[in-house]
């Protein structure tokens, strides 16, 4: 697996010189790679004196970290209370069924990652579906379906 370890040195250097925390180092690493590749974590333990078990513990404790690459599109269903009472579970279950994945998982074709979040602070728009960072408020199962279909179609036409 070819993960470029080049940037790790710089990330670690800035962590040491700015006295940032390990959590921040992992955040910056994930910003760089999109996820936390195993080799990168191992490289970090070599650059700075910190046990791999610590990094692995942090990477699995905090939900914003992921050890596997994400899909091409991220579908994020808000499952905060406001969205819940406004029907988020119906939307989430529908997406789960249609994509055949549970929250946190990526479809086999690598196209979609389904995630949930507990409130994005846009409760007035609940239920809320965020597709690749764009908010879709007051979403219905039908609209979610349409969004999904158009993304899948676009991916088929342009398989890059």
């Amino acid at each position: 697996m070819g993960v470029d370890l080049e940037p790790v040195g710089r990330l670690c250097e800035s962590h040491v010189s700015n006295r940032t925390s390990l959590v921040m180092l992992l955040q910056e690493t994930q910003d760089k790679y999109g996820y936390l590749p195993r080799e990168v974590l191992k490289q970090i333990t070599r650059e700075i004196d910190v046990p791999l078990a610590r990094l692995y513990g942090l990477a699995t404790f905090y939900r914003s970290f992921t050890l596997t690459p994400r899909g091409k599109h991220e579908l994020c269903v808000c499952t905060g209370t406001a969205c819940h009472v406004r029907g988020a579970p119906t939307v989430l279950q529908h997406l789960q069924r249609r994509l055949g994945v549970s929250p946190g998982e990526t479809t086999e074709d690598g196209l979609f990652t389904l995630v949930t979040v507990n409130c994005l602070g846009a409760c007035a728009l609940g239920p809320l579906l965020v597709v690749d960072g764009k908010y879709h408020g007051k979403i219905t199962v039908g609209e979610a379906d349409e969004l999904l279909s158009s993304l899948a179609e676009a991916a088929q036409q342009n398989p890059q």
């Binding site: 959590v23 921040m24 404790f61 905090y62 905060g80 209370t81 507990n118 994005l120 409760c123 007035a124």
Partner: protein, 623 residues
């Protein structure tokens, strides 16, 4: 964006001069347009509206006389995108980009009002011209949020122009640390993060610890699902929080502070970052602040997705780069906190109140509220409510006023059932208690909690067992897993509740839930576990019938629990639009055309409710 004029302010006098100059500068503008740029409105694509204004003003060469601002959240997220046009204070809502040229033409140049864009009172159908006259705002009292709709959060000049950093100047120039603490004590300010501990008292305890190194922390983790007031303050008025922290740091003797902000709030992270940078440029953060020898700097720490990190000891662990697991208190952070040093942690809203208290005085602040809860509280009023949004109300106002007068009641003529306050640590409050005044102790007294300020309204279509299950599921995912009762106990409570929702529960389950709730509440290490049983206990207390209907009659009275409901389509109401046919994941619906009303094949139906949520004519019924 206009670059700030505030640079290297070396004394209180210079700050004052700058403020006066900014005021004079502002007079140059004949019209001010404030478009809400909060997260809620951004979701409605307010950025496009702002860009349209910008282009239109440029095109007509109006940029020297009309000032366009992208402000923080105005609160009325339900109606975004919003704009307030001053000096007349005209309030336009649900603005589309197509409306912009017309607004510039008619309103800004012509001075006319565009009726269509005004807010319309749903009951009287009256068009309302000014923001302050809209019922949603009328009953509010905005101390913390006052400046949110006026200033541009990414420009420190705006904050200074409305009197910002004057409280700091007063404190560092003329007051001793003890005097500052006395003012805060006398104001009666209590922590807005949930616990309601007296802020002045906490400062005093931290100040009285030995040692030279102390820290202050702003808790902006706001993990409570359905609450977003802290986000809006950080987004809309970040300098008020910084000024509060500066004043606190001065009183406590801290030279460094941290802001721990939730990662799911990208705009808040950005705006507070901009604010810190601009305050540094203005020398309001750093060394020798306002020439008084007081030093203070602030670092921002981004959360990484863990609700438990709102708990102060877990937050500290996270800032230090460790697992966010709480540790037992004592020692309290005030005694041994960040990097082992005395640390004072306050919530965003707590900090944001401080400059106001200093500027306007303790007595002014204490003049609002109840005997033991002073000032205002910001709530995020969400759920099954007409006017979703952020409301800032005086303590002591009743829940009924908030839900009905400000919130405008329940949509679609449904019946109110409960309001949930305090998030996963809070409780459900039934209709019979709506006249309860909002106050830390009153809410705790009925098994709910002020919490950080989430207020989720539920109607007759909300199942209370499902809500209890929802919170247990939330807490199961968010428990850190360190201590036995929380880790194992919540899992088992969820297990029982899921069984009940699936129709497989029995009456013993209720007793078992109560026993577990008591055990977890008493034995858990931190308040996450300690208060975790509240949603279950309060729903059992006020909505026991619903539990009994689930376990005895295998029925979900609210029609939510999928295993216990049957859906059918009322042929008389069905207009044959066919939407339900399209959404049904199992192709269980036939018909749905003009001539043949839709019909559900019960053998295929999985009770997912998709058709119920989709039908625009309420033709799908649930029993």
């Amino acid at each position: 964006m206009i670059a700030p004029a505030a640079k290297n302010i070396a004394s209180a006098g210079q700050l004052d001069q700058l403020r006066q100059r900014l005021r004079v500068d502002a007079e140059r503008y004949k019209v001010n347009i404030a478009v809400c740029g909060g997260t809620g409105c951004q979701a409605y694509d307010c950025q496009a509206v702002i860009d349209a204004f910008d282009q239109e003003l440029a095109r007509r060469d109006l940029k020297d006389t009309v000032r366009l601002r992208c402000t923080g959240c105005h609160g009325f997220c339900e109606r975004g995108p919003l704009a307030v046009i001053s000096p007349s204070g005209l309030f336009y809502q649900q603005i589309k980009t197509e409306d912009v040229p017309e607004i510039v033409d008619k309103t800004i140049i012509g001075g006319e009002v565009i009726e269509r864009l005004l807010y319309r009172e749903p009951i009287t159908k009256d068009r309302i011209r000014e923001e302050s006259e809209v019922p949603f705002y009328k009953h509010q009292q905005r101390i913390v949020f006052g400046a949110n709709g006026i200033i541009e959060p990414t420009n420190i000049d705006d904050y200074i122009a409305v009197g910002g950093y004057q409280a700091l100047a007063k404190v560092v120039g003329a007051l001793s640390a003890q005097e500052v603490i006395d003012i805060v004590l006398r104001s009666g300010l209590r922590g807005r993060g949930g616990g309601g501990f007296a802020a002045g008292r906490k400062w005093e305890i931290t100040r009285d610890q030995g040692g030279d190194t102390k820290y202050v922390i702003c808790n902006a983790d706001e993990g409570d699902p359905g609450a977003y007031m802290d986000r809006s303050i950080l987004e809309g008025n970040p300098h008020s929080v910084l000024e509060g922290m500066l004043i606190g740091a001065y009183a406590i003797g801290a030279a460094e502070g941290y802001i721990y902000v939730r990662a799911e709030y990208p705009l808040a992270v950005r705006n507070i970052g901009v604010a810190v940078a601009q305050a540094e440029e203005a020398a309001l953060l750093g060394e020798n602040i306002l020439g008084t020898g007081f030093n203070f700097k602030v670092r921002i720490s981004r959360g990484a997705g863990a609700f438990v990190c709102g708990e102060e000891t877990a937050l500290i662990a996270s800032v230090e780069g460790r697992l966010g697991t709480p540790s037992a208190k004592p020692p309290f952070p005030a005694q041994r906190g960040l990097f082992g040093m005395p640390t004072n942690i306050n919530n965003v809203e707590t900090w944001a109140n401080v400059p106001q208290i200093i500027s306007r005085g303790a007595d002014w602040f204490a003049g609002t509220g109840t005997p033991k809860s002073k000032g205002t509280k910001v709530f995020s009023l969400v759920g099954k409510i007409n006017n979703t949004g952020l409301v800032e109300v005086p303590m002591g106002i009743t829940l009924r006023e908030v839900v009905f007068d400000i919130g405008g009641g329940i949509p679609k003529g449904r019946k109110f059932k409960a309001v949930q306050t305090g998030g996963p640590s809070g409780g459900l409050i039934p209709e019979s208690m709506l006249d309860l005044p909002i106050d830390f102790d009153e809410l705790t007294g009925v098994g709910a909690m002020m919490g950080s300020g989430g207020m989720i309204v539920m109607d007759e279509d909300t199942c209370m067992v499902d809500i209890a299950r929802y919170f247990m599921n939330f807490l199961r995912e968010e428990s850190c897993g360190k201590c036995t009762p929380c880790r194992e106990g919540i899992k088992n409570m969820l297990h029982i509740l899921t069984r009940i929702c699936q129709g497989a529960g029995n009456e013993d389950d209720i007793g078992r839930l109560e026993a577990l709730a008591d055990g977890i509440g008493a034995a858990a290490l931190c308040a996450l576990g300690g208060t975790a049983p509240n949603p279950v206990l309060s729903s059992l207390k006020y909505f026991r019938d619903e539990y009994l209907a689930h376990v005895k009659e295998k029925r979900c009275p609210a029609g939510v629990c999928t295993a216990l409901i049957t859906l059918s389509i009322d042929a008389a109401k069905c207009k044959g639009c066919g939407r339900c046919v399209k959404v049904c994941p199992t192709d269980a619906i036939s018909g749905g055309v003009k001539k043949a009303p839709a019909k559900i094949d019960q053998a295929k139906c999985i009770s997912c409710r998709a058709c119920f949520e989709t039908c625009p004519f309420d033709a799908v019924t649930i029993v």
